[in-house]
């Protein structure tokens, strides 16, 4: 039911997540933010088991901040992704595994933009575009068809709009709005919610 998507450009990463917080068949919240700011230039998008998501994401968030206090500089996106994955892997074979699916998006001074796909089995993959949820089955093919590595920010937003259009057309669940954010060398920027006019 929940949906996450990330698209990496040459000098930015565009991410979006749906805004529904559901409990069984009821929409409890229609303006729920599934993105966690790990640092000035890193976002963690987190879906999965209710409770596990916030618990795990906030734990990672505070540990990334602790690293900044201890060392005077922030963790790189690659390091943060690997740290997250290690935690997932450690908890996987314990009595209390976290059932969460994640996208980590960030911008590094030296390596540029990065998008990391992680799932509840502690797999990690750095990818140019990625999605989580049932919606991924419908939209990955659209990304395959229209993505190019040097796409501009506007083209990325258009591509994102195409994906959302497809979800609205063919996905059984109604996802009325999506939070959209962009990360580049200047940090995290909030973009207009999609589809246009969504509240």
């Amino acid at each position: 039911m929940e949906y996450l998507i990330g698209i990496q450009g040459p000098d930015f990463v565009l991410v979006a997540a749906d805004n529904v917080a559901a409990s069984s068949i009821i929409q409890m919240k229609h303006d729920y933010d599934k993105m966690f700011k790990l640092s000035e230039k890193i976002l963690l998008l987190c879906v999965g088991e209710a409770g596990d998501t916030v618990q795990f994401a906030e734990y990672i968030q505070k540990n990334v901040q602790l690293y900044k206090m201890r060392n005077g500089y922030e963790l790189s996106p690659a390091a943060a992704a690997n740290f997250t994955r290690k935690n997932l892997a450690d908890y996987l074979r314990s009595r209390t595994p976290y059932h969460v699916n994640l996208l980590l998006a960030g911008y590094d001074e030296t390596d540029g933009p990065g998008l990391y796909y992680m799932d509840y089995l502690a797999a990690v993959a750095k990818a140019p575009f990625a999605a989580h949820g049932y919606g991924a089955y419908l939209t990955l093919s659209i990304l395959d068809r229209y993505y190019k590595p040097d796409l501009t920010r506007d083209e990325a937003v258009e591509l994102l709009k195409k994906c959302i259009e497809e979800l609205n057309k063919r996905f059984i669940m109604n996802l009325p709005s999506f939070t959209v954010r962009l990360i580049d060398k200047d940090g995290v920027h909030d973009l207009e919610k999609l589809p246009i006019g969504a509240k």
Binding site: E58, Y59, K62, N63, Q65, L66, M69, R70, G72
Partner: protein
């Protein structure tokens, strides 16, 4: 067998003193001076920079440390002990944010550090931490705070204070010169801190490290050039004061 017996190092003396704690306070008195000043919209920490050996990289000796985005501390005493305390405080700052979704108040983290220090005066086999700390920052409601802790685990709030070598001299200077107008502006508060340190530091601005926190802004460590400019301003003001006094005398 011997594990069952109390291996306390810190025990009471016949006349009610905890000598280990007092010896720790002596260790603090040997450390380089640190001064803290609470202004209206700014808090200032200044430390005496110990001269480093010729081959040593200067940057690795940092006596002013951030605990969180809105709190920082300076210490006097055993640097190695300070590292442990600072690390625990940093973890506690994040842990607090995780559990209650709010940043720590300066008083909370001071109390945490003080409790930690007190525990080490009462457990077996451990000696007290040989540091005093000056903890500064802003609470979420915007109030500036300055606290001081010492090896016994007590803490107090201060308007301005000094720790370490020659702390007494600096404190006396502050008692004379800390007035409402002396801390009226940010620059004035910074200059007061520098003036206080100049009382006890040899060779002036080169041996001073200064850090400031302004409300809602991260810690800023002043560059050597900025300190030099301020020291020059202070010297000029001193000269002008001396001139005025001379003129008054002659007239």
């Amino acid at each position: 067998m011997s594990a069952r017996y109390d291996r306390a190092i810190t025990v009471f003396s016949p006349d009610g003193h905890l000598f280990q704690v007092e010896y720790a306070q002596e260790a603090v008195k040997k450390g380089s001076t640190a001064v803290g000043i609470r202004g209206k919209d700014i808090v200032v920490l200044g430390v005496e920079k110990k001269s480093v050996a010729k081959l040593q990289e200067e940057r690795t000796v940092r006596k002013i440390c951030v605990l969180d985005e809105h709190v920082c501390m300076a210490f006097a005493g055993l640097t190695a002990d300070a590292r442990i305390v600072i690390n625990r405080a940093r973890v506690e700052c994040q842990s607090h944010r995780l559990t209650v979704e709010d940043p720590v108040t300066v008083e909370y983290i001071t109390r945490y550090i003080a409790t930690l220090k007190q525990r080490y005066t009462q457990s077996n086999g451990r000696r007290p931490f040989g540091i005093s700390a000056l903890i500064v920052g802003f609470d979420s409601d915007g109030t500036p705070r300055l606290y001081q802790t010492d090896p016994s685990g007590t803490y107090h709030a201060w308007k301005a204070n000094a720790i370490g070598r020659s702390a007494k001299t600096v404190r006396e200077f502050l008692e004379k010169n800390y007035t409402e107008e002396a801390i009226a502006g940010d620059n004035e508060a910074i200059k007061l801190a520098i003036k206080a340190l100049l009382e006890v530091v040899q060779s002036g601005g080169k041996n001073i490290e200064l850090a400031i926190i302004r409300r809602n802004q991260p810690l800023k460590i002043l560059e050597a050039s900025e300190i030099e400019t301020l020291v020059a301003e202070i010297e000029k003001e001193k000269e002008e004061e001396a001139e005025k006094k001379k003129q008054k005398k002659s007239s």
